[in-house]
């Protein structure tokens, strides 16, 4: 028995990659790769893979999927390494398909015409990403390696997007019309969500410590922060308008600070209120779950309460506290998008403008960076937590 487990672990035979490759073949066959729109509002005509990219592109995509399918039939380490490289390169260069579509199908004379990204492209990208994930999992790639792969792909997309040939992509059109606003939105979005997380982290820490010290405060405090979480976010944003408006009317100097019924002030308050529950709960539970025997030993060794807290309880609780921060950060980045409704700015502005104008690419311009920020925060904080846990 032990002999088997000490053998070098081979990649297991596995049909997931093959099934995904087949699904990808079906998707590019059935779904439109891209859409050519005469202008921003009209929905336009869809083009499949062959109509979009001709023999060359079609051949490339199909042979890619066939090669991956064939390589994945036998579970050999070498083969999976090749598959990982092939998939990474394919994902990096995927936007070039849209560039070919633009070159072939975009009417040359029309300044308003643009390329929309079709369901076929999104599905292909998504399925390729799943295949890559599965392959890296099979290869037991380290976290760092996985992260560098993601960064490579992002860099590839960034390079493709900045090429002249893709300037007619609707998403990029929307972006180049608003590049100043885009970076302002990024700044506002980040400072609102991260600011709220930072402030509520400090508050939550103080509350959790108070709850640990005084058992009697536990129920009312947890009740309060849970109650705030149950108010629908839109309602909370709305509810804060009136009191803050009244405040700034009563004390005009507040207005010079930008504190008014709408804008960043109510948004920040609401974001803090929402962030409290997950952080208070995780911090409290983490501190309470430090084994009593360890605390007892520390006290018995002659540590004072402060040393016990700083040297024993806090380090042991840290992974779970970071987990709370992670959940909260992802949630705050998402909620900040909604805060655009009360004039807080951020990527939500594009989303709601786009919804108002029925311009889906403008919605995407707001939604995609929001999702990307949330994923990035997730990756960074997960790595941090992993590092703390494995100490």
């Amino acid at each position: 028995m032990p002999l088997i487990t000490t053998l070098p672990n081979p990649v297991k035979s596995n049909r997931v990659v093959q099934a995904l490759a087949l699904a990808a073949l079906g998707c590019v066959w059935l779904l439109d790769l891209g859409v050519v729109q005469p202008n921003r509002i009209v929905s336009g005509t869809g083009y499949g893979l062959y109509a979009s990219t001709g023999w060359l592109g079609t051949g490339a995509v199909i042979s890619l999927l066939v090669v991956v399918f064939v390589l994945a039939t036998r579970p050999a380490q070498k083969r999976f390494q090749v598959v990982a490289v092939v998939l990474t390169v394919a994902l990096m260069t995927l936007p070039l398909l849209l560039e070919v579509l633009a070159r072939r199908q975009l009417p040359e004379d029309s300044g308003y015409a643009r390329i929309g990204v079709g369901a076929g492209f999104w599905s292909l990208a998504f399925l390729l990403a799943l295949m890559l994930l599965e392959t890296l999992g099979q290869l037991k790639a380290s976290r760092r390696f996985q992260l560098s792969t993601v960064l490579l792909i992002v860099a590839g997309w960034w390079l493709c997007a900045s090429r002249e040939g893709l300037s007619s992509l609707a998403l990029i059109r929307e972006y180049s019309n608003r590049s100043d606003q885009f970076f302002q939105a990024l700044t506002v979005h980040l400072s609102l969500s991260l600011g709220a997380v930072a402030i509520s982290a400090m508050l939550a820490f103080a509350l959790a410590v108070a709850m640990v010290k005084r058992e009697r405060m536990r129920r009312p405090l947890l009740g309060l922060v849970s109650f705030m979480q149950t108010i629908p976010s839109l309602a909370l944003f709305g509810l804060l308008i009136a009191p803050l408006g009244a405040l700034s009317d009563a004390f005009p100097f507040l207005q010079t600070l930008g504190i008014r019924g709408i804008g960043w002030a109510p948004a920040l308050l609401a974001l803090i209120a929402y962030s409290l529950l997950p952080m208070v709960r995780n911090t409290y539970v983490a501190l309470m779950e430090v084994p009593e025997s360890v605390v007892d030993a520390g006290r018995g060794m002659g540590m004072n309460e402060r040393q016990i807290f700083r040297q024993v309880k806090l380090p042991l609780a840290l992974p779970v506290i970071i987990e709370g921060v992670r959940i909260t950060t992802i949630q705050a980045i998402g909620l900040t998008a909604v805060a655009a409704l009360i004039g807080a700015g951020g990527f939500g502005t594009f989303i709601f403008q786009g919804l108002g104008q029925a311009a889906m690419d403008l919605v995407l311009l707001g939604a995609l960076p929001t999702v990307f920020l949330a994923l990035a925060a997730d990756a960074i904080l997960s790595a941090l937590k992993f590092q703390e846990t494995s100490k």
Binding site: G298, V312, L316, K391
Partner: protein, 315 residues
């Protein structure tokens, strides 16, 4: 010296420790023994003020412990517990070094001390020092727990069933190590156990506890010979009292010593001076021998012991 005078501890209405008097002389090992829930841990934890007492007085070297700063008091009392309470996020070396660190010893002195203790407790300063507690076996973790208790070179050692969770062989080994270390260091020790054999083996004096009271406080031999009540008699077990008495004394005490040590015959088996009389009897019964040679640590034959001597003078 530790003195408890009419010490009582209540939890609500329940009396956990009931008006006990106990004196632990400097350098002696006092073992508190009794069944679970009789108040042993409570007594121990009042000595280092992890629990406040309800009434009475506790003196260490004549000073009331309530007059001292509790942290300073504890820094001078090593503390080892059954669940080890090792800090899971620190290496073995850092765990052992915690009291020296709290005492603000220079790093060099602390590291030397840690190595010294690792060796004293049979751990490897190279490989074991960098391990984390979850990488240790139960026995190793307990050794680290004891090393940590000794690290600050305290005058007093408090141990709460430190070997209670170990298998019989590991426990036996650690008891031997405790005896060896105690002979070397002579710490004033209060040791809690529910195992009467462990108590008989390690104690200078035993305090038998029941329902918060001390029933009898005496040397192991007196406890065995003259149990104060049916409870104590039951605890030591009526059947093998004789064997337990034999276990208290060593071959060296009873043997007939030669005027001159003799050269030992090669391969001849024999007893060591430190072996217990119980062990000697067992070997005789097994080998059907009526006389066995006794060898010194140096390997010379220094005397003999006979079955007659054992049966007449042993217990």
């Amino acid at each position: 010296m530790i003195e408890l005078k009419s010490v009582t501890r209540r939890f609500g209405d329940a009396v956990a420790v009931d008006d006990i008097d106990l004196t632990v002389e400097t350098g002696e090992v006092c073992v508190l023994v009794g069944s679970s829930g009789c108040g042993k841990s409570t007594t121990l934890r009042m000595i280092n003020r992890l629990l406040p007492r309800t009434s009475g007085e506790i003196l260490v070297d004549g000073e009331d412990i309530n007059k001292a700063d509790p942290e300073a008091l504890r820094l001078n009392m090593g503390y080892a517990i059954q669940s080890t309470g090792l800090f899971p996020h620190w290496t073995v070396a850092r765990n052992i070094g915690v009291v020296p660190d709290l005492l603000k010893w220079p790093a060099g002195k602390r590291d030397e001390r840690v190595d010294e203790l690792l060796i004293l407790l049979g751990l490897d300063p190279e490989t074991d020092a960098i391990k984390y507690p979850h990488q240790l076996s139960g026995g190793q973790a307990q050794r680290v727990g004891v090393a940590r208790a000794l690290a600050g070179d305290p005058n007093i050692l408090l141990m709460d069933e430190p070997f209670g969770a170990l298998d019989a062989i590991t426990r036996e080994n650690l008891q031997q190590e405790m005896l060896r270390i105690q002979r070397q260091l002579n710490k004033t020790t209060v040791f809690v156990t529910h195992d009467i054999d462990e108590a008989l083996k390690l104690a200078t004096r035993i305090a038998v506890m029941d329902k918060g009271k001390i029933i009898q406080h005496d040397t192991p031999e007196e406890i065995l010979r003259r149990p104060a009540s049916a409870f104590v008699e039951n605890l030591i077990g009526k059947g093998d009292r004789g064997l337990k008495l034999l276990a208290l004394r060593s071959v060296g005490e009873l043997m007939e010593r030669y005027p001159q040590p003799r050269k030992r015959e090669p391969n001849a088996d024999g007893l060591k001076e430190a072996d217990s009389l119980r062990f000697a009897l067992s070997v005789m019964v097994w080998k059907n021998a009526s006389r066995l040679p006794v060898n010194s640590e140096a390997g010379e034959e220094v005397g003999t012991v006979t079955r007659e001597q054992l049966l007449q003078g042993g217990a």
